[in-house]
């Protein structure tokens, strides 16, 4: 089973040289830590930076330089700052090649819900609705089940949607799954995880090929 860093590490393998990538709050933020040295990748944060760097050293924090998670960050050489309209022009205009974000629920048709539990909790959609409606590559990073042990990979979402039919791939603590033709297609198992465990934790339709390789995490 993967921990959060493991999920991030696996997702980092999906990042190609020359890509602009938007990382959501939470697990997705960790993906930046696992990009190989020398790979040409730039991270966009939708509050207005391209070329986001690592967190600053203590004492070097700048209140005017944060990411979308409101964390203090640094800017890499070649970075650029811009306003929110330009930022979402990049996103909506499909200039960002990959979006990684968290979710409360993902459905077998690619729907995603991650911003509201009616009557109980409302975080707001932030930039997520723009991101999922626009990005060509959307990877969801999340735990396979919620705290109550219930599957987050469902036949259809029960919570208010963030976007429809947009998620292409899900990476969880248990597996990598692709979404197509109205089903979750099992691609890889997390180290030490059996197909049956994944099956038990997946409420939506799961398609399992004959051979399901185990993830290779360096």
């Amino acid at each position: 089973m993967l921990d959060k860093n493991g999920i991030a590490q696996r997702i980092a393998q999906e990042v190609h040289d020359g890509w602009y990538v938007n990382l959501g709050i939470g697990i997705p933020t960790l993906v930046a830590n696992f990009i190989p040295e020398g790979m040409e990748v730039e991270f966009q944060s939708e509050n207005g930076i391209l070329g986001m760097g690592p967190f600053p050293f203590a004492g070097k924090e700048d209140a005017d330089l944060i990411n979308a998670g409101k964390q203090t960050i640094t800017a890499m050489p070649g970075a650029a700052f811009f306003d929110s309209a330009t930022s979402f022009a990049m996103i909506r205009g499909q200039h960002v090649q990959l979006t990684v974000l968290g979710a409360m629920e993902v459905a077998q048709n690619g729907d995603i819900a991650n911003w509201k539990i009616p009557g109980k909790m409302v975080k707001g959609m932030g930039g997520a609705m723009d991101l999922v409606a626009s990005a060509e590559n959307i990877i969801v990073a999340m735990m396979h089940t919620n705290r109550a042990g219930e599957s987050k990979l469902l036949p259809s979402c029960t919570l208010p949607l963030t976007g429809v039919g947009c998620v292409k791939r899900v990476v969880t603590n248990l597996a990598v799954l692709d979404i197509r033709d109205g089903a979750f297609h099992l691609v890889e198992r997390a180290p030490g995880i059996e197909v049956d465990q994944i099956r038990a934790a997946t409420a939506g339709k799961l398609v399992v090929p004959e051979v399901v390789p185990e993830m290779v995490i360096a």
């Binding site: 830590n33 209140a63 979308a68 700052f81 306003d83 929110s84 932030g126």
Partner: protein, 237 residues
Amino acid sequence: MAINKVVTNEIEACKGVKNGMTLMLGGFGLCGIPERSIAELVRLNIVDLTCISNNAGVDDFGLGLLLQKRQIRKMISSYVGENDEFERQMLSGELEVDLIPQGSLAERCRAGGAGIPAFYTPAGYGTEVAEGKETREFNGKPHILESALTADFAFVKAWRGDTAGNLIYKATARNFNPMMAMAGKITVAEVEELVPEGELDPNQIHTPGIFVQRIFQGTGYEKRIEQRTVKTEKLSE
């Protein structure tokens, strides 16, 4: 001769703000918020406000201060996030809240300032956000029609400004400020440093002075950090 927009301070700058008005306030989280103007709005105790702002600050800072005093009737935002009082007032129904996608919020403010009454965007299609909105397909992809936002007053915060109202923001403190500056009937800019006209490079202006009606140099900026995160700590979520 450039048009002089300078007012003395936040007291002068906020003159004319009245109960029931619609305000825009720049900033993302606590980054780039018009601290001095917010403090003055709190002091004036103006109520029944509709506030358009990406967030509503935190419980005890930023727009959270106006929420605490129940000065806000309605929020138009994209993210509630880490503001417990905001979430509480919204869930209890004390506060009317219109949550809209962040990109649509930014673009709707820009549209308001740019004389574009409406535009189509894919964001929010198939979700609650699309309810009651026109849907139309372009290039085989469904979009929804979003309308422009404007405000009686827009309050923005910049790093440097000149007497002609030209503004330069710093780093990610820029965020929503430029679009909101465009969309205010009266736009109030507070800056950390106010310089005479001619001192800023005209090639580096982020918000041209035409969008700004009043400008003042604020004092005592707190610039609170919401999520201080540093490298020496082990990277964690």
